[in-house]
């Protein structure tokens, strides 16, 4: 979807801001919303750029920095914490050679955290784009990343 197509989908009402931002972000390759796009959104909804930026920077799922093709959100809930999510996070940082909220140089992966993915019975867990992976171990994380990499290369 182009930005115009997203606008066509929603009426120019402020209440649609979050939905519009989600749709734009999901359909843009960089999986983020840059300033130029935000200006368009502000104009469309008759809001100030300041207000729109306030919203974008408030919610963790939006980003104004370009992100990778796959956004990894590792769950930091107490359950996952108890089940070792912290060392998994360290493992991911080491493997991808990036810190939280950073993107790998090949623009494949962005590493983020989530307060809870709501899959506590399968802790520790992570979500990559819209898919949830539970009962994680370092090996399992490695094989998921491997699979995504090879999928990408085959495409």
């Amino acid at each position: 979807m182009s930005v115009t197509e997203v606008f066509n989908k929603y009426e120019p009402k402020k209440e649609n801001l979050l939905l519009i931002l989600h749709d734009i972000q999901d359909s843009i390759g960089s999986r983020s919303i840059d300033e130029t796009t935000l200006k368009k959104v502000a104009e469309y909804l008759d809001m100030s750029l300041s207000q729109v930026y306030g919203v974008v920077s408030f919610y963790t799922m939006y980003s104004t920095k370009p992100r990778g093709k796959y956004i990894i959100r590792i769950c930091q809930s107490p359950t996952c914490h108890l089940m070792g999510s912290k060392s998994l996070l360290e493992h991911l940082k080491e493997t991808l050679k990036i810190d939280v909220n950073e993107t790998t140089s090949d623009k494949m992966f962005t590493l983020e955290t989530s307060s809870c993915l709501g899959v506590c019975s399968e802790a520790p867990a992570m979500m990559i784009n819209d898919t949830v992976y539970g009962n994680l171990t370092e090996e399992k994380v490695n094989s998921v990343l491997e699979k995504l990499r090879s999928n990408h290369e085959n495409n």
Partner: protein, 425 residues
């Protein structure tokens, strides 16, 4: 009318389950509710972390419209009602009703003062009814079976059942629905089967970041609104996280405060600055740098935040600290006075040693050590250089002879340099 499906409490996922497995149940409840109060517009505010639930609700709503159960003139009556989905975007505070409404209006999710309550002035300034997913799910069965049926279950003040997500260091994890008033121990031991690996259960944490920790000595506590409050905790959305003897309660409190710091909207001083300072003090304590004055300050600060934060979220953020201070003060004192972490969790306060009596000189630990902190050669007793060790625990994981010990506040005699195994015996 709003259904609050911003299930953000870490450790709780019953709403996701309800929406994914039976979205019709939520919709049915909302339709009945709307009919009862005369509402024509309904919204389900759902967190964006639940894409599957969104997809299924979306479909269920379309189906309901197709069947004439939503939309204009439902079932040929003059009652019209429709439901729309609003998505969150990653902010725990949006579970708070005024923040949720702000978010739905296209704003940042910052709570505002109450009153006016949403029932007086809510979405777009109009009277708004907000209930959570589980409440709406109960409506249809209560209408069908009658109020008496529902109120027969539960205690005198807390009626009916509640779904809990039983998670953590417990054998059987998952969602459990029990009558309100069921004792903690029934849930933990009879249903959950006790701790994993034959460890001892030490406490349960209920109510997420706003809740508290209940020690095993109080496991007779009935799980209902009043008794949990008496114990210093809350029911919240119904998360029950089981903790065993390997859990450090100071570390747990620190974890929850870190969560509060991350999720504070930043609007009011007590929450924005207070939770940050509480976290700093807890960090100091877990690093072995805390003092008794720090504990006093921590408790004072916790109480002031409870009394002066603007919204319920801020007011309850200190609960994990207050309950652990209440029930596990000895653990705090061990960190502060003895520089010891009894559960051997806090990295700054633990050391790894190789037990000379158990080491077989196999070299696997020194080969796996990421910082080359282990000295030794085949057939020799290995030694960890405490100055180099980063306490990652790798050696303990790889050792096949359980020769690595993790200690806090104590040490064992080890040779100064690697010596042949038979000499050491």
């Amino acid at each position: 009318m709003i259904c609050n499906a911003d299930e953000g409490d870490p450790g709780a996922y019953m709403n996701r389950n309800e929406m994914e497995s039976d979205p019709h149940m939520v919709i049915e409840g909302m339709i009945i509710g709307a009919y009862a109060i005369g509402a024509n517009e309904g919204y389900i505010y759902i967190r964006a972390e639940y894409p599957l639930a969104i997809e299924r609700l979306d479909r269920a709503i379309s189906d309901a419209r197709a069947y004439g159960l939503l939309g204009n003139n439902i079932l040929g009556t003059d009652f019209s009602f429709d439901i729309h989905i609003a998505r969150g975007a990653g902010a725990f505070v949006c579970g708070e009703e005024t923040a949720l409404i702000a978010s739905m209006e296209g704003n940042t999710g910052r709570p505002r003062k109450r009153p006016p309550f949403p029932s007086q002035k809510g979405l777009w300034g109009k009277p708004t009814n907000i209930n959570n997913v589980e409440t709406w799910c109960n409506v249809a069965s209560i209408i069908k079976n009658g109020a008496d049926w529902f109120t027969r279950i539960g205690t005198e003040k807390s009626k009916g059942t509640k779904v809990f997500s039983l998670v953590g260091k417990v054998k059987r994890t998952g969602l459990v629905e029990v009558p309100l008033g069921t004792p903690v121990k029934t849930i933990v031991y009879d249903i959950g089967g006790g701790a994993t690996d034959n460890k001892k259960v030490k406490a349960v944490q209920t109510g997420g970041p706003s809740g508290g920790c209940i020690p095993d000595s109080l496991f007779d506590t009935q799980v209902d609104y009043e008794h949990l409050a008496d114990a210093g905790s809350i029911m919240g959305s119904g998360g029950i996280v089981v903790m065993d003897e390997d859990t450090c309660m100071v570390d747990t409190a620190k974890y929850f405060l870190e969560f509060a710091v991350e999720e504070s909207c930043g609007k009011c001083t007590p929450c924005r600055e207070g939770t940050y300072q509480m976290h700093r003090i807890l960090e100091k304590i877990t690093e072995g740098k805390g003092t008794n004055e720090d504990i006093v300050l921590l408790e004072k600060l916790a109480n002031i935040i409870k009394l002066t934060a603007l919204c319920r979220l801020g007011q309850t953020a200190p609960n994990p600290v207050l309950t652990t201070l209440r029930y596990f003060k000895d653990e705090y004192l061990a960190h502060v006075e003895d520089k010891r972490c009894p559960a051997r969790v806090c990295r700054s306060l633990i050391n790894y040693y190789i037990d000379p009596a158990a080491c077989r000189g196999c070299t696997i630990c020194s080969r796996n050590c990421p910082v080359e902190a282990i000295d030794g050669k085949p057939g020799y007793i290995h030694i960890i250089d405490q100055n180099k060790c980063i306490k990652c625990g790798t050696c303990m994981e790889v050792c096949n002879f359980s020769a690595i010990v993790k200690l806090s506040g104590e040490s064992i005699d080890t040779p100064f340099a690697p010596i042949p195994i038979n000499k050491g015996r």
